[in-house]
Symmetry: C3
Subunit: 141 residues, 3 copies
C-alpha cells in the first residue's frame, strides 16, 4: 500500500535575500512518515523563492548571491523590467528563482534521505521579509 | 494500490518563442485521474522547450524573453555556436531550456494540485512553429 | 503494491569538465526493475555535478561548456569567489551545476523510459578526475 505525508514549512526571512538550511526540517518529516522506500518532493510555494541542494558553506552562499545579482540585477527596478510596471519591484526575484530552481526530489532509501556526502537542502529567498511556505511531500511505502 | 495516469499535450506555437499557460490542462488531467494523494510530473518531451512554474503576468514573460536572449542570444546563429554547424539554428534554444528547466513535479493533495497562491504552470517554447509534446504523468492513490 | 529499485552509478572523468551519456545505464536499471508504470529519479549525489536531459550532439556540448564558462568562469579562482578562500578552487562548479540542474525525473510508461524523440540523459561533471556517484531510483508498479 502506498503511503503519503504532506507538511508545510513557513519562513519569514529578516533580509530580502537569504539562504536557509532546511535539511533537518525535511529529515524530521521523512523519518516521521514511516516511509522506507519512496520519493520526497520539497518545493517553494511562492514564485520568488527556490528550494535547491548544494553546499552548506557561507562563502559559497555569498558567491551565489553576488552571481545572481550579476545575472539578474535588482536595480534599477524601474527601467529594466516590464513586470515592475505593475507596481512590483521583484522581477529580478522571479528570474533568480529560475536559475536556482523551484524544487528538489530526494530519494528515500531505508527510511532515510539518500544523500551524497555534502548534499544539504536550502530554501532560497529572493523577496523576503514576509511569510512564505515550502511544501514537503513524501510518497512511498 | 498505486494508480497512474499518463497524457500528452501537443503545442504548435505561432512564434519561435512563446510562453503558454497550461495550468488548466494539467488540472483537468489530475482531477480526472481520481488520484487523491500523489505526484504529478509535467515535462517537455523536446529538448528546445521547457515546463516551469512562475507568474501569469505578461510583463514578466517579456522580461524572461529579453533576459534569456541576453544570457543565450539567438543571433548570430552561425558564428557563436558549434551546434549550428550541423545545419541547425537552434543552439540558443537548447541553452535557454536549461535556464528555465525541463520539468516540474507538483504535489497532489486531496485530489488537487497543491499550489501556492500564484503558482501557474507554463510551457516555454524556444524553437516553435511545429508540433511539440508535453507529458503529464500522475502517480499516487 | 508499490515496487522500488535503487542503484548507484560511479563516474571518474578524465577531465575536470565532461558530459557523459548515461541513457543506456538508466534504461537497463528501469527495464530490470520490472516496474511498468512509475517515475524514475536520476540525480547527481555530488554538488559540483549535474544530471540533465538534452541533445546527444558533440557540438552542443562544446557550446554548453563555453557558455557555462562565460556565465560562471573558473578563473581567476582566487579573486572572484569567497568559497575558494576555504582552499577549494571549485566555486564555479557549484554555480554551473545550478544552471544545468541536479536531477531529472523521467516517466516510466509500459515498462520503458517515456521519452520524446531526442531526449538523452547526461551526467555533467564540473569538478572531475575523482569518483563521483549518481543515484537512480525507480518507483511504481
Amino acid at each position: 500500500m502506498m503511503k503519503s505525508k504532506t507538511e508545510y514549512l513557513t519562513f519569514n526571512t529578516l533580509t530580502t535575500r537569504a539562504f536557509v538550511n532546511i535539511t533537518s526540517n525535511v529529515r524530521k518529516i521523512v523519518e516521521g512518515s514511516g516511509i522506507k522506500e519512496g520519493l520526497c518532493l520539497v518545493n517553494a510555494m511562492h514564485i520568488t523563492a527556490s528550494v535547491f541542494i548544494n553546499d552548506n558553506e557561507r562563502g559559497l552562499h555569498q558567491d551565489f548571491d553576488k552571481w545572481l545579482e550579476k545575472l539578474a540585477p535588482h536595480a534599477p527596478a524601474n527601467d529594466q523590467y516590464k513586470h515592475n510596471e505593475t507596481g512590483e519591484d521583484n522581477a529580478d526575484a522571479h528570474l533568480k528563482r529560475q536559475i536556482m530552481g523551484r524544487e528538489v526530489i530526494v530519494a528515500i532509501t531505508n527510511g532515510k534521505l539518500d544523500f551524497g556526502p555534502w548534499e544539504q537542502i536550502f530554501y532560497g529567498e529572493f523577496d523576503g521579509r514576509r511569510n512564505k511556505r515550502v511544501l514537503v511531500k513524501v510518497i512511498g511505502e
